[in-house]
């Protein structure tokens, strides 16, 4: 069973590399990070710019890539399904086969310039945080793309439409809604609520972790007790990390369930 998964995995990787898509994606991050470091100044500056790009584009690219893959390799998947292969094995093979190269492209593409400019050593923890978050976001959003692709298997327009809307909502509109709520209910104690709401969006979670790394000195300026406890101790980073793990598990599991029950 394991060998079957690996077999599918390696096959996927070969196809992806032949397509050169992933390499281009990695190169984009390589050039971006390098130019940020070359022209932008110090490590913190470059890492923050990189994390901004990461927070905005990785979710979009991940989802589009996931859904596109489901649509494009329809024949291949259906062919494999006729073989005596467990659906679970097939799913893991397909999912990891396309998400891990994408993840690797981002991590390696950004890590190389960080390495040769010496930032990996200077700002080790911050670099690791940005790269790791990018990797996790890739996994989360590829699996979301899978779920959408499987749900709207025959209606591609709808599938892509949902992808764009979900991305727009999570990356931009969600924070607008939070801000609106904060201003509407400004007279109530909102700290717990605001933290809870932010935990429901994986992009916000990743953003909060970036914030904990770079803006902790500003966060400590806030006087509220709940925020101080949340941001001031390790509680914040553990909660956000835990929630990210849940966010990783739920869409993957959902995709697996849909894939298992689907009548192709």
């Amino acid at each position: 069973m394991k060998s079957q998964t690996l077999h599918i995995l390696s096959n996927e990787w070969k196809t992806l590399l032949r397509g050169k898509w992933v390499i281009g994606y990695g190169l984009i991050f390589l050039m971006l990070t390098d130019s940020l470091l070359r022209f932008g100044g110090g490590g913190a500056e470059a890492l923050l710019s990189l994390s901004n790009v990461m927070l905005l584009f990785i979710p979009l690219v991940g989802m589009i890539y996931g859904i596109l893959y489901i649509y494009q390799s329809r024949e291949f998947v259906e062919l494999l399904l006729t073989q005596p292969i467990d659906r679970k094995v097939l799913y893991w093979g397909l999912f990891l086969g396309i998400s891990t190269p994408l993840m690797a492209a981002f991590i390696i593409g950004s890590m190389l310039p960080l390495g040769w400019h010496g930032i990996l050593i200077l700002d080790g923890s911050a670099s690791a945080m940005v790269l790791g978050l990018g990797g996790i976001l890739t996994l989360i959003f590829v699996s979301l793309g899978f779920v959408l692709g499987l749900k709207f298997y025959d209606d591609r327009i709808k599938g892509f439409g949902f992808t764009i809307v979900i991305w727009l909502f999570m990356a931009i509109l969600y924070d607008g809604l939070v801000l609106m709520l904060v201003f509407t209910f400004g007279h109530y104690p909102l700290e717990r609520f605001v933290i809870a709401v932010s935990m429901l969006n994986p992009i916000d979670l990743a953003r909060i972790m970036v914030m904990l790394e770079f803006d902790i000195s500003a966060l400590m300026g806030y006087t509220g007790a709940v925020f101080s406890r949340f941001f001031g101790s390790n509680l914040g980073i553990f909660t956000a990390g835990g929630m990210l793990a849940i966010w990783l598990a739920v869409p993957t599991w959902l995709g697996l369930r849909v894939f298992k029950q689907k009548d192709f």
Partner: protein
Amino acid sequence: MKFTISISGIIGFLLISFGTAHGQITVSPNGPVTSIQQAIEMSEPGGNIEVKPGTYFENNIEITKPLTITGENFPVIDGEHEGTVLVIRADSVTVKGFEIKNTGRSYIRDYAAILIDQAKDFLVENNRLDNVFFGIYLAETERGTVKNNTIESYDRREASSGNGIHLWNVKNPEIIGNTVQGMRDGIYLEFAEDARIHGNFSHKNNRYGLHYMFSNGGTYYDNVFRDNGAGVAVMYSENVDMKNNLFEHNWGSSSYGLLLKDMRHSTIEGNRFYRNTVAIYSESSSNLKIHRNDIELNGWAVNIKSSSARNYFTENNFIENSFDVRTDSPRNNNVFEGNYWSNYEGYDLDRDGIGDVPYRPVSHFSIIIDRQPESLILMRSMFIRLLDMAERIMPVLTPQTLIDEQPKMQRIQ
């Protein structure tokens, strides 16, 4: 006075003729002279006292004549938690190489390890002070140097701890290369004229690393202030020069890298502010030159109250601070010019190194935060970025005149 000096001189002479040579007296735990106080009384003015290693349980040791007292291998003077340990009441006294510990503690009296009271030209060097209430206390002194001492104490409460180096009503003191830790204020100055505070390391103090009150004309260069309860406060003074200091890791809702209050005609140059909640806070200060500082990764780089006027922020590097400038008024009486702002997004078409669009350091988001602090959790989100961008194009809420007309494109080296 003259009479007592001559008497003690005679006694000293007599005693010295009993066994000490060249005006030098040696104190050791098992020698003929076992107490420092006794040696001081024996010594003639201008004499030398050498103290051998060991522990001496003495307090309120008074030095009333010019003397040099040197400890060999850091002999310990234990004050047994009572009163001040060493009091210098004469000019030209040198105290070197002691470990002094356990002074008295009091809510009424300022007991210190070393008190220098109405003396001139003293030198206190290479001493280690441990578990003391006040460390080195200078009262009404003139000139004199406090150099390379280490002061540490363990009371974490602000109200019941004392200051590391305390200066009150002094002239021309030199405070050089000392390390202070765990006190109330690391270095405290009140009515100190022309103080020179250079190369000190003040960290983990309960309140301020350096606290400067009513002290005109001083300089402080090359000091490091790290992780103090409330950073550094410089208040009610003028003509103070602050150069090449490092202010870092001062965190908390009322913690500042550098707090300026009622300061006038002073220069803040070449300092580095790194990861403080607020790097520079200014209230009722005027005519300050804030030039060529590195202000990096702070919560707020500058928090300037509208009571501050005619301050010049020029050629500073503002790098990835969560917020660049915060102010409480739509009007602006200060000048920001020729700084480098890492958050600047303008362009430079004529390639002269200066951005063609002015930079507005007060962001829309910082005004949102002031109104609704919970929205802090949205920092660096795309939505907030869009709001900021819109505000920069069409300013409505941010101060119209608080702008840098000539933002630099490159970091200033």
